[in-house]
């Protein structure tokens, strides 16, 4: 039971933290249509997080709610991968972070649809429709930037150097991931990423040290800042409601 709760929280935390990161683009996107796109993706991710938190709260019992899980846990209790908490940076960095994560979600949710927990399977099936959009949109942007102007290529290259070292953690198994085929997932992810990066005229980096720790609550310094903002209302006005 504990491992299902932890795994559900892992799925929820990833979606929430990346959704929170993307939401900061609201009103700041490079053009109106892309501002709307990234905030729509943010909304989808927060919606997915809610579904997972609701399930985790039911399994946890003891008065836990989707809100208490999102707003009242501490940094060390969050299990999201380090990739999701990395700063937005410029548009290239946000796009590349989204592309890496959407590719991961796309193949992971396909696998989750067929595992025995029917509730997780239902959420994955529902979310997969949305993730297909995210993946298509972010793939197109990676290609557009990489194969675009000298400056857009330079920026995407810089983003690749900043983010690549956080991609290995996606496939390093945590205790709660028993039964998930991370080797198969890594193969699918690597093939897709390589194809898109090549089309974007970028090479997949070689021999990079991979950071890890997010799954076990050892986050980068970014995480504290995110939670400070995300949880501010509940910390300042406990139990406040809309």
């Amino acid at each position: 039971m504990n491992s299902i709760i932890n795994y559900t929280l892992y799925l929820a935390d990833n979606a929430l933290i990346l959704g929170q990161r993307n939401s900061a683009w609201c009103g700041h996107g490079p053009v109106l249509e892309q501002d709307i796109a990234i905030t729509n993706i943010s909304l989808d991710l927060i919606g997915q997080a809610r579904s997972f938190y609701q399930y985790a709260a039911e399994l946890t019992g003891n008065g836990a709610t989707e809100d208490s899980l999102a707003y009242l846990r501490t940094e060390r209790e969050f299990k999201n991968v380090l990739l999701t908490e990395q700063p937005n940076g410029d548009w290239a960095q946000t796009i590349l972070r989204q592309f890496f994560f959407s590719t991961y979600q796309f193949y992971l949710y396909q696998a989750l649809v067929n595992q025995p927990d029917t509730r997780i399977a239902a959420i994955a099936e529902k979310s997969l429709k949305e993730v297909s959009y995210h993946l298509r949109w972010s793939s197109e942007w990676v290609i557009r930037l990489g194969d675009g102007t000298e400056e857009s290529n330079r920026r995407l290259h810089k983003a690749l150097e900043a983010l690549w070292c956080y991609t290995g953690e996606l496939f390093m198994p945590a205790e709660f991931e028993a039964g998930i085929d991370l080797v198969g997932l890594k193969n699918d992810w690597s093939t897709k990423v390589k194809t898109i990066l090549e089309e974007a005229t970028l090479a997949v980096p070689d021999n990079v040290f991979m950071h890890s720790g997010g799954k076990t609550g050892n986050h980068t310094e970014q995480m504290g800042f995110i939670l400070t903002e995300l949880q501010y209302m509940q910390r300042a006005y406990p139990d406040s409601e809309w």
Partner: protein, 163 residues
Amino acid sequence: MTPDIQKTWSYLEEIKDPEIPVLSIVDLGIVREVAIDDEAVTVTITPTYTGCPAMDMIAASIKMELMARGFAEVLVKFVISPAWTTDWMTEKGKLQLKEYGIAPPNPRQQVCNDKLFAPDEAVQCPHCESWHTRRISEFGSTACKALYQCEDCKEPFDYFKCH
């Protein structure tokens, strides 16, 4: 009162999607089940998109409408499986959308794949009926819509994307 399933469905047709006020939640295809047990009624609904911010408001509207119709107890249940699809939207609903100025979803799923730089889906302009339109953005004013422009009458319009 004598609770009646058929009547209850017709009451639900009075409730509109708050973001598309011409379309009832029944025509949108999000009401999955109505069950009556004495004076209590349970309405099961499903979201269009997981993050749809209108769900809480729709649930509140259902409760208010059915209580006003005499039900002592109204329960609203949420389900996400099977996942909602635009195929569940009624023909009447599609017509209402078009009259409102939103292009209704095409009948066959053409957008939800991972193919890159796919040619724009052919969408008919709800204003002048021209098929000579182009996609401006895959994401529109809400998660369920994309933004198009008609090349003939030049009007921009929302397309309720196929899902």
